[in-house]
């Protein structure tokens, strides 16, 4: 039993740490993440030959402090993750609960919208939208949030159907509660634990998606240090000093792994095992 709690604890520690860094980042960062110092380009991390304690994780191609940029990057990733799931969660849950509760034609329409969304190639459409509207943090959040709701919809539809078959929903109906009241007071609270698990899965996907968009040059605009953009900017130099892509890449890997561990742990702890 104890063993099963380990993923939850590790995940919570990683995500908690990232959240703290994201919130108090500016006070943690040893340097201004935007100040260039062309005399000190590609200074290696402190533990490597040629590194200096002034820059623990070295500097990038414009002499900007890598640790400070990484810290601000954590804020961007967390911001992207949290705000997209608020948006996509609202859209997906609304669609899913409506489909699951009303069934019939409403359900068929919801499932049709989900099928259309699944057929659309996510990255290509996101790239096109960002290219046309212009890249900014808000545009990336909106684009990902408007595209990434299908898992919320599918799961909330499935669990709403299960909940609606239960006696307390029938009892509320018999007691004369309105549909709105039943959905808001009976259904939603009883599917919330499933939604929390989906939120972690989608948060991880949103963060990876933003990194990929930024890597391709159509995500977070420079000079903001999105981790994906940091990898793109350092890519041409990786053959000389691999750490320039290893550091932001490992940061991304650890954060996403932490979110997934937290999600898995929560699913077991909350008993929200539906498996899609």
């Amino acid at each position: 039993m104890r063993l099963r709690r380990i993923p939850l604890v590790i995940g919570a520690i990683i995500v908690g740490f990232a959240a703290i860094v994201a919130i108090i980042g500016p006070w943690l960062a040893p340097h201004d993440p935007f100040v260039q110092d062309l005399g000190h380009r590609y200074v290696p991390p402190a533990w490597m030959a040629g590194g200096s304690p002034a820059h623990w994780l070295g500097t990038d191609g414009l002499g900007r402090d890598y640790l400070s940029r990484l810290i601000l990057g954590a804020r961007i990733s967390m911001l992207i993750g949290v705000s997209t799931i608020v948006l996509s969660g609202t859209i997906g849950t609304t669609l899913g609960v409506l489909g699951g509760y009303f069934g019939g034609t409403v359900d068929a329409v919801v499932m049709f919208i989900v099928s259309c969304r699944l057929a659309i190639p996510l990255i290509l459409v996101a790239l096109t939208v960002v290219f046309m509207v212009g890249s900014s943090l808000a545009v990336v959040v909106l684009t990902i949030g408007l595209l990434l709701w299908e898992r919320f919809a599918v799961v909330s539809r499935a669990v709403t159907r299960q909940v609606c078959a239960l006696d307390y929903v029938a009892a509320a109906w018999a007691a004369g509660c309105s549909r709105t009241r039943i959905i808001l007071r009976e259904v939603l609270p009883n599917i919330a634990h499933h939604l929390v698990v989906i939120a972690t899965i989608d948060m991880a996907i949103a963060i990876l998606l933003e990194a990929a968009l930024s890597f391709l040059g159509l995500g977070i605009p420079p000079p903001l240090p999105s981790w994906g953009l940091m990898i793109a900017e350092a890519k041409d130099y990786m053959f000389f000093t691999p750490w320039v892509i290893e550091i932001p890449g490992v940061a991304l890997l650890v954060l996403v792994l932490g979110i997934n561990l937290l999600g898995d742990g929560l699913r077991d702890a909350l008993g929200a095992r539906t498996d899609r």
Binding site: F112, L127, F131, P242
Partner: protein, 305 residues
């Protein structure tokens, strides 16, 4: 079965039509198509001339119907920038993408199914936990970063594999391996879950009671039932792999459809973007249809109303 087939087909056609509208709308989100082509310094007359040549000065519904009508007949228009038919551009770029995608899904099956079986046979032990960690890490690795790291390890440090291009068969190894990461975690969990359920089922208990060997039970009874959803899901996963091929193709400098789309997006070449979005959607819908039919053939319970 006939009704099931008809309904699935009808739904697939409707989804394709909707994506047709979406991909058209997508390319008209920016009002300055002609300025994109003429360049920001072009005179208003030059922009108007381009708008007229491309038919962009007509009302939107007319443009849409014209485009949709041609698309339905296989004419996807001409690229603004390559001065080549979109259909021939796609025809020359698609084989590479398909080849990479199919190799990737084969890699995913070969890796995920045995790992899933092993995990299910050792349910709850450290082996099971280790396999679960493989799935979690596979899910967390950013694909483009994995590609770059593989290039550094196997291309630069070890000199085992070419770092870009597909001139030799070795060139396919890294890109398709990176692509397979999209599908491995999902298929692994599905195989494990299906095997765990199958191993607990009555028919496996019966087989055990009959004194069948462990291998016979796993292969003949449990795997046969656990494999059904995996087969169906692999078709859908191939669709996701193809749709996400753009990132991997850019990392490995592979001139496939994804790369073509990325290039076209950066230059505002909308006929190509529209066509690629539509192409991936049609492929995905087709694969989903195949998955549904496979599922229905393998498991009659899924054919229900």
């Amino acid at each position: 079965m006939g009704r099931f087939l008809l309904r699935s087909l009808l739904l697939a056609v409707l989804v394709c039509l909707t994506v047709l509208i979406i991909s058209f709308a997508l390319s008209r989100m920016s009002g300055s198509l002609a300025i994109n082509i003429a360049g920001p310094d072009a005179s208003p007359e030059a922009v108007a001339k381009i708008e007229h040549e491309l038919g962009l000065d007509r009302p939107l519904p007319v443009q849409f119907l014209d485009w949709a009508n041609r698309a339905a007949h296989g004419d996807l228009g001409s690229s603004y920038l390559f001065h080549e038919k979109v259909s021939s551009l796609i025809a020359s770029h698609l084989p590479v993408t398909l080849r990479l995608g199919v190799i990737a899904i084969i890699i995913a099956i070969v890796v995920a199914v045995p790992l899933g079986i092993v995990a299910a046979l050792h349910e709850g032990t450290w082996i099971d936990i280790a396999v679960g960690m493989v799935a979690l890490i596979g899910q967390a690795v950013p694909g483009f970063w994995l590609g770059l790291m593989l290039i550094l390890w196997f291309g630069v440090d070890l000199h085992w594999l070419p770092i870009a291009g597909l001139e030799t068969w070795q060139g396919y190894i890294m890109p398709s391996f990176v692509l397979s990461f999209v599908a491995i975690p999902v298929m692994l969990r599905l195989t494990r879950g299906g095997m765990v359920d199958a191993l607990r089922s009555d028919y496996v208990r019966t087989a055990r009671a009959k004194g069948l060997s462990r291998i016979a039970i796993v292969v003949k009874h449990a795997l046969r039932n656990a494999a059904m959803p995996v087969v169906a899901v692999s078709a859908v996963q191939l669709g996701f792999i193809l749709g996400g091929s753009v990132v991997t193709e850019v990392v490995f400098n592979v001139r496939g459809v994804g790369y073509l789309a990325w290039e076209s997006i950066g230059k505002g070449d909308f006929p190509v973007i529209q066509a690629v979005v539509l192409l991936f959607a049609v492929i995905f819908v087709g694969l989903t249809l195949i998955a549904d039919l496979l599922g229905a053939v393998l498991d009659p319970r899924l054919r229900g109303g």
